[in-house]
């Protein structure tokens, strides 16, 4: 009862009426619910979430999985990157070989009907199915991205929060180290490390890259901790006798989680671009393994004659990076308490009429 009267006092104080609409929407919701609600209103972010989920599902279910070496889960795609089917001759434009069989134009529009065909993305020089290669590349690039992201996120959050919370000498030492690391361009570190250890496998490479990618995040987290630890609720908790551990995990971290999640998504999209760039200049994933950057690098010379070898891996890199960027944008909007949604004309009118009615009733 008390709460309701407070809300109504507030809403009469607010002149514009926009705040009233916003406040009414989040009345009685938990922080998580508010964030979720705001996120799902961001149309581009929701579309992106759907896109990235589909890419992950399609790529990771394409081939056979062996669980514990015994149970075999069959993949849905007929070829694997190791298969060597017969190269498609003949019916390709400009006397090329291994052209894509995917067709998106329905029959009544003069196409061949919607269908994947035998080799939807075509075949490479020796006849390997390019769809299978792109799927394997997507798997590699996605896993490298996730590994880099999770290692960098963990390190960044731990270092940043320790430095920000304890301040003093610990902070000075950690942040000087971050200063040193941040001066070295990631592409140089990545190249140095990747050139030597790229042949040890994509996951190993990703772990190493993750060890160097956390610096920016740690600075951000430190700044957030520095400002949050001076707030009244932290003082209150300390006076009430809370331990440092409890203050960090129960009071500060939940308040910093918005900043962390947003920058981790940006870190992820940076990571996939880094991996593909490194693989492209030959310092990342090395053959016979497959990665999206590597595929582009291997077939860029055949662009003039067989452009599909270039388009499809690029399309997947862009879709993944773009989706993650949009999800990050949606999350930023969702977590930002100052973020005001654009109020549509109709809602404004509704609220105005409601107010007029209320005044008339008074």
């Amino acid at each position: 009862m008390a709460r309701k009267s407070k809300a109504s006092v507030e809403s009469t104080e607010v002149l514009s009426g926009e705040n009233a609409i916003q406040n009414k929407e989040i009345e009685g919701l938990s922080q998580g619910q508010i964030v979720r609600k705001r996120f799902f209103r961001h149309r581009a972010a929701v579309v992106s979430l759907f896109t990235i989920t589909s890419i992950v599902l399609i790529a990771f279910t394409a081939f056979d999985w062996k669980i514990f070496g015994a149970i075999k889960v069959p993949g849905w795609w007929k070829w694997t990157p190791e298969d060597l089917p017969e190269l498609r001759y003949g019916d390709c434009p400009n006397d090329t070989v291994g052209c894509p069989t995917i067709s998106l134009l329905p029959k009544f529009l003069g196409g061949q009907g919607i269908g994947l065909g035998n080799h939807p993305f075509g075949q490479d020089d020796i006849g390997r199915d390019y769809f299978a290669l792109v799927m394997r590349g997507t798997q590699r690039s996605l896993s490298v991205m996730v590994v880099i992201g999770s290692i960098a996120a963990t390190l960044g959050v731990v270092v940043g929060s320790i430095a920000g919370f304890y301040r003093g000498r610990v902070d000075a030492i950690l942040m000087r180290f971050v200063d040193f690391m941040i001066t070295i361009p990631v592409i140089i570190i990545g190249s140095v490390v990747g050139y030597r250890y790229g042949n040890l496998g994509a996951v190993f490479l990703a772990v190493l890259l993750g060890l160097f990618a956390w610096t920016g995040l740690s600075r951000l987290v430190r700044g957030e901790f520095l400002s949050l630890r001076e707030r009244e609720f932290v003082d209150a908790a300390r006076v009430a006798g809370a331990t440092n551990k409890r203050i960090i995990f129960k009071h500060i971290l939940p308040n910093a989680i918005g900043v962390i999640i947003v920058s981790v998504t940006l870190l992820l999209s940076g990571a996939i671009l880094l991996e593909t760039a490194l693989s492209y200049i030959g310092f990342g994933v090395v053959p016979p393994d497959v990665s999206l950057g590597l595929l582009i690098s291997q077939y860029q010379d055949s662009f003039t004659t067989r452009p599909w070898l270039f388009w499809y891996p690029g399309f997947f890199i862009i879709s993944i990076a773009l989706s993650i960027n949009f999800i990050g944008d949606g999350l930023r909007d969702a977590f930002d308490p100052r973020q005001r949604r654009r109020i549509s004309k109709k809602e404004r009118q509704d609220s105005a009429t409601a107010r007029k009615l209320a005044q008339a009733n008074d």
Partner: protein, 514 residues
């Protein structure tokens, strides 16, 4: 202030030492310069290994070897820096001296272009917040963010260079292209200008007709093979520039500023033939520099002559107009060079190059032809870097301007009845530029690192190529040389950005409490 700068420089020195120590050890552990020798079946293999070990001091463990390297580098302070020798036998310092100007040229062009375009579009998106233009630009910015630079570079090579060169052989612009360009430009201008539905469609039609007929005329007259502006077009464009600059800078209501701008614009056209005479007979960088100086002095005098009170804005407007309209004369000269440039044997009617930073076969003594060659080589890599870079500027300029527009002093400015132009250009835009300026400087350093990939795709022999060569050849000295230059620039750029911030923003005082 001096004490502050000195202290900061000291800290920067420490940071540089720390990061170079980390990278040196990392690279020394990862690289094995003896690897290919070990595998060789040469009879004097062991002797060679010994010789190389002695030469590269491989018997010293990396953390200590770093200090040997550092001793050479610290020679900078006594004027004798020694970055060691690369494995190709060249002094690292010499390789760097060749590579630095090449990279700087690329990075400067790309950063500048990205910043100007990005800030302009960012401001328009902020002023049209939540419009269709805003949404589509946001989408484009995110798309550009997500593009791998090597992918864009290969696309540009294929479609802009090779296809454009093919097209230049028979430059007939097909009809659907004319219509398409018209439609696109109509959409662009109509969305930028915005307004009611009626203004939208009027702008759309005007822009459509103007640009498609322009493209059609250019195609029919073979302008692309022998472009030029000529004094008439220069005159018309200069008058347009005079009006535009005056409107944006002080408003058309200021008749004195308008008069001064129109005078300097007219003067640049009067100077068209004399300037071309100088260009033809005494072309050199020094002479062009002198002409720019003369131009600016004239602008200042004209501005002063026209104004009595409130002189600074009028002089500023005059200078901007003067520089822009004089640029038209320079651009016209380069356009006139286009035809002789294409006719040279080295170019042979394929003017857009895909590799290298200059055409070695082109041995022209002509100042204009060799400079045009540099410009055409800059074309594709700059575009690749700009496309990737300017997305960030769009987002940043938009965010900053929106934040500024929400401030109380903007409301005050509007409330006291200032024109929208004054509110946006004087009160909002200037405050937006403070963080933008610092970002620009920091970005400049960042792009140097980012040019690694671009340089490798376009086969430029700049710092990036040198760095890749160092890593592939396990060449520690060369790698450290490249890193040292890149890192010094990055660190100094951040320092300059800090100083700039405090110089531009009176709320921030350097040295207080630091």
């Amino acid at each position: 202030m001096v004490a502050f700068i000195l202290r900061r420089l000291g800290v920067l020195g420490v940071i540089l030492m720390g990061s170079s120590f980390i990278l040196y050890n990392l690279a020394a552990i990862s690289a094995d310069p003896l690897a290919d020798l070990r595998l060789s079946t040469d009879p004097d293999r062991d002797a060679k290994i010994l010789a190389l070990t002695r030469e590269l001091q491989l018997d010293v463990i990396p953390p200590l070897r770093y200090f040997l390297w550092l001793r050479g580098v610290l020679g900078i302070f006594i004027g004798q820096p020694d970055f060691g020798t690369g494995r190709d036998g060249l002094a690292v310092l010499d390789s760097l001296a060749l590579a630095i100007p090449v990279t700087l040229r690329l990075v400067a062009a790309a950063t500048l272009l990205a910043a100007i375009l990005g800030i302009m579009i960012g401001i328009v998106t902020a002023l049209r917040q939540y419009s269709r233009f805003d949404y589509s630009m946001t989408f484009i910015a995110f798309l550009l963010f997500s593009l791998p630079v090597f992918w864009v570079a290969v696309l540009l090579k294929e479609y802009l260079a090779i296809s454009f060169n093919d097209f230049l052989r028979e430059p007939n612009i097909p009809f659907n292209w004319i219509i398409g360009i018209g439609l696109a430009s109509g959409l662009f201008w109509a969305s930028v200008i915005g307004g009611s539905r009626k203004t939208f469609w009027t702008t759309y039609v005007v822009a459509f007709v103007a640009s498609s007929s322009l493209v059609a005329v250019l195609g029919m007259t073979g302008w692309l093979l022998d472009p030029s502006l000529g004094p008439i077009v220069v005159l018309v464009l200069s008058i347009g520039i005079a009006f535009g600059v005056t409107q944006i800078s002080v408003g058309l209501g200021n008749r004195k500023a308008l008069g001064a701008s129109l005078t300097i614009a007219g003067l640049s056209v009067v100077a068209f033939y004399p300037a071309n005479w100088v260009f033809d007979n005494y072309a050199s960088a020094l002479n062009i520099f002198l002409m720019v100086c003369a131009l600016i002095t004239t602008s200042v005098f004209i501005g002063l002559a026209f104004s009595k009170i409130d002189r600074a804005p009028i002089v500023r407007t005059t200078i901007i107009t003067g520089v822009l309209s004089a640029n038209l004369v320079l651009i016209d000269k380069f356009m006139q060079t286009w035809k002789p440039y294409m006719q040279t044997d080295a170019i042979n009617y394929r003017p857009v190059p895909t590799v290298g930073e200059r055409n070695d076969l082109l041995n022209s003594p002509d100042f204009w032809i060799s400079n045009l060659d540099v410009i055409t080589h800059l074309f594709l890599p700059t575009m690749a870097l700009t496309l990737i870079g300017f997305a960030g500027y769009i987002r940043f300029a938009r965010g900053t301007l929106l934040e500024v527009l929400n401030q109380d002093y903007i409301r005050t400015a509007r409330a006291k009845g200032l024109s929208e132009r004054t509110v946006i250009m004087r009160h909002a835009f200037r405050n937006t530029m403070i963080p933008m300026a610092t970002i620009l400087v920091a970005d400049f350093a960042g792009v140097i690192g980012g040019a690694f990939i671009t340089e490798s795709v376009f086969a430029w022999s700049g710092m990036g190529t040198l760095g890749l060569q160092a890593i592939r050849g396990q060449d520690l000295n060369l790698l450290m040389g490249v890193f040292f230059v890149t890192a010094t620039m990055a660190v100094l750029a951040n320092f300059v950005a800090d100083l700039l911030y405090s110089a531009l923003d009176p709320r921030i005082r350097v040295g207080s409490g630091a």
